[in-house]
């Protein structure tokens, strides 16, 4: 019993240490020179981030609508049509499921990224350069995650196209 308790306490302390090291890692890159640069470039960086925020909102709408259209108006109807004609569209169905999952991830990750970037914009970089940079690191991480998911969606669009081409070739061969 005492051993288990000791194990639990050790694990808890270990977890706390890992967390503190991670946080310190995020803040470790902020040198006095960087703080000075954040302050000196504050105004132009705030303007650039504001512009980026607007561009991203447009991109999110544009890409989001396009990705939704591909799924709702192309992938899903074709899968339904293949199923109603008793044709094997299993591979296409799997890709569609992965695609929809990736889109849901994209949707959630954009919200997280937008919130993170909004937090960066709320911080006064002249008064709180360290908080600004830490918030920037978080936003950068969220943006990277979003970019990866965006890439996954594009890969799935390519995969679906290639799988459909194979299906069509097989169908043409069978019915020629």
């Amino acid at each position: 019993m005492k051993f288990r308790l000791l194990m639990a306490v050790t694990l808890l302390l270990g977890a706390c240490m890992v967390m503190s090291v991670r946080e310190a890692g995020a803040a470790a890159t902020i040198t006095p020179e960087k703080i000075a640069r954040i302050r000196s470039h504050c105004v132009e960086n705030q303007a650039a981030l504001n512009r980026l925020h607007q561009t991203d909102a447009f991109l999110r709408n544009d890409r989001g609508n396009l990705y939704r259209t591909i799924s709702d108006k192309l992938m899903v109807p074709l899968n339904r049509r293949l199923a109603s004609n008793q044709l094997d569209g299993g591979a296409l169905l799997t890709i569609t499921a992965d695609y929809n999952e990736a889109y849901t991830k994209f949707y959630d990750q954009y919200i997280q990224y937008d919130n993170a970037l909004s937090k960066v914009l709320e911080i006064n970089c002249t008064r709180e350069p360290v908080a600004f940079y830490n918030a920037l690191l978080i936003a950068r991480e969220k943006r990277n995650e979003l970019s990866k998911t965006n890439q996954t969606i594009k890969d799935l669009v390519r995969q679906y196209g290639a799988t459909f081409t194979d299906f069509k070739a097989a169908y043409d061969k069978e019915h020629s």
Binding site: I38, S40, D62, I70, K73, L78, L82, L146, K154, Y160
Partner: protein
């Protein structure tokens, strides 16, 4: 005797007597409170559902709104009903290739570079 209105009124609290005396005014306050609650619920849903992030009608999003308005082409898509023939597969192929080309366009969407130290001039003086 206890059913007499004046006797019953004597047992009411001050709040109830005030409401009875100012029924119209009380109703207006109640309606305002209900509408404030409904607005709170609506805004909470607006924020938690992610609609807030997609809303280009927010102040400060003029340029994004103008860009979004430009492209209003209606895309009907592929019908989910009907037989599968060579022609229908060709039709799907054409539609899919068009939309896939739009999706796969080399757009630097959400690349990490935009928030990098070099992009924000934080790695040099």
């Amino acid at each position: 005797m206890s059913d007499h209105p004046h006797f019953a009124e004597g047992h009411d609290t001050i709040a109830i007597r005030t409401v009875r005396a100012h029924q119209f005014f009380s109703m207006v306050i109640l309606v305002i409170l209900i509408s404030l609650f409904l607005v709170y619920v609506a805004l909470s849903l607006y924020q938690s559902s992610g609609t807030l992030q997609l809303d280009l009608s927010r102040p400060g999003y003029d340029s994004a709104r103008q860009e979004a308005v430009k492209d209003k082409e209606v895309f009907n898509g592929f019908s989910g009903d009907g037989p599968i023939t060579k022609d229908t597969l060709n039709e799907f192929d054409t539609l899919y290739k068009k939309k896939a080309a739009e999706a796969l366009i080399e757009l630097d969407a959400f690349s990490g570079d935009a928030l990098s130290d070099s992009a924000l001039a934080l790695d040099r003086d």
